[in-house]
Symmetry: C2
């Protein structure tokens, strides 16, 4: 009986792996190093070895394993090809095909943000819904779009690239992508710190954040906002303004059931949800009811959950 599957989440420094039951129970998770030398040529082999070792340890054979899924930190085309993955050094690779050949079980592959979205739909903040948009507020802003239970990757892998929606065409600073005014410049951990620093420089408004510019973090900005620091509240408000605006764009395009907000910044919790809802409603007045907005529940494990879920397809 094929009662088990593996979920793999490849990151720039480590690969997370998980052994799951096909009902979605995470039995064990572990990590291996991401070997990026030689254009990332060893990564898939390392993953295969690690999974095979785990199978031996658990006394599992190929007959017990339904398959594996894999999240990749870059765009994956619909046919499974990764044209370029800067973070891993890959060029024109078919990672799922390679891993499947090594393991002898079916392997699916997707972009890591989509994979995390899939995980949240399966077991997390989007459970019970089939039209789910996951937004990850971390160092950058990632997104995953799921419609009718299926990941919308798009032909060029641009589906769910919400972090680079231009929400403020008047912005002067340049985003990592080369454009100006991307959502990521306001709503990521880096973004909310950038905005807070700008505000510290631009006025003499008193703030508990003054003097801490050199080591300012998103958590510090949210903590200050929670105790009513006005400057911090303004930075948080700007995050909510642009994120709510972007979510209204998404709603007026595909009208999802639920937005699941994850990533480091989402640990801020209630204060974050409140400011997002405020602007999301302001910009989406066409309908009296709108999508639910929920916090992600799987944290850093969303990627392996989603990857495992892909294996069940």
């Amino acid at each position: 009986m094929k009662n088990y599957c593996f979920g793999v989440d490849i990151g720039g420094t480590s690969v997370k792996l998980g052994l799951f039951t096909i009902q979605g129970e995470l039995l064990e998770k572990w990590e291996i190093k991401t070997r990026k030398d030689n254009s990332g040529a060893y990564i898939i082999g390392d993953i295969a070895t690690s999974i095979q070792n785990k199978m031996k340890e658990r006394k599992l054979t190929i007959d017990d394993v339904l398959g594996a899924g894999m999240g990749v930190p870059g765009p994956v085309m619909e046919n499974g090809t990764v044209s370029v993955c800067v973070n891993l050094g890959w060029v024109n690779k078919k990672p799922a095909e390679e891993l499947s050949a090594l393991l002898g079980v079916p392997v699916k592959c997707s972009n890591d943000a989509n994979s995390a979205a899939y995980g949240e739909m399966w077991i997390g903040g989007g459970k019970g819904y089939s039209d789910v948009v996951a937004i990850t507020l971390g160092t950058g802003v990632g997104g995953g779009v799921i419609l009718d239970g299926k990941i919308v990757a798009g032909n060029r892998g641009l589906g769910g690239e919400l972090g680079h929606i231009v929400v403020n065409p008047n912005e002067k600073d340049i985003c990592n992508c080369g454009n100006k005014g991307c959502l990521e410049q306001y709503a990521s951990a880096t973004g909310v710190v950038r905005v807070a620093k700008q505000k510290l420089r631009a006025s003499n408004m008193p703030s508990v954040l003054r003097g801490k510019e050199s080591h300012l973090s998103a958590k510090m900005v949210f903590d200050a906002a929670k105790i009513g620091d006005e400057l911090a509240l303004e930075a948080v408000d700007q995050l909510g303004y642009y994120l709510g605006l972007a979510m209204s764009f998404v709603t007026l395009t595909i009208d999802p059931d639920v937005f699941v907000i994850g990533g480091g910044v989402s640990k801020a919790g209630g204060i974050l949800l409140q400011v997002i809802v405020k602007y999301y409603e302001k910009f989406t007045i066409l309908s009296p009811t709108r999508a639910k907005i929920a916090l992600a529940q799987l944290g850093n494990d969303a990627g392996i959950y989603g990857a495992a879920r892909m294996a069940l397809e």
Copy 2:
């Protein structure tokens, strides 16, 4: 053999009907008046009578007809219910169910913008693609989103409501929907006239449009732009700017194969495509290739084509 289907496009003043072969050939089209009295209670009955008369005239029986599709000028929920359709006076109606009961053949129903998008995918500017976004630049701005060959209506019917994406949160004028800065305020026929009038008021820039404010039309603005009138060019540029921006939002959400631009404004042709492409590329730099941008080909018949296509599902 069920070789025929009917496409119905209900508008506020008239209902367009078409008899099609199931291969997509339009054999005949005609119109009837939209009787809105008594909360639109007669509309479905009138449509049924008109189709039955046409069947008699053509010597067709129920055994020849695969079914019918219907586009409705308002949101249609996934279960086929129309909660409110202001344009027709309908409240809590199931139009497809009603028409099907009268005709004795299966009937499908969708929002008219989605239906037009479906038509353009079948036989028009989006032919050969399965991920199509149709944008109709008419009195307002309508949109239809098709992924994997299926209309994305959304649970609240907000899918494809691109005209009410807020592209300029700093706008002072109010949109019909009550918000400020909607795409419709710049990119519809009404919108481009509004912007041109604003520019005429705001400066003394010479323009062939001066003195024509009282009867200005979108065609006049585009015609002036084509002969190099600078003020008209600015209005057209602003249309392209906001439409290109909105199309980049859509691309970074679902990454479609093709955008099909239709409606009265699209008759401007090349000059319109040029300015849209310019800004669409500016705001979508994440990928070296982007969606194709094509002009709609079915004109006012897109709705009946798309409705007929629905009948084949």
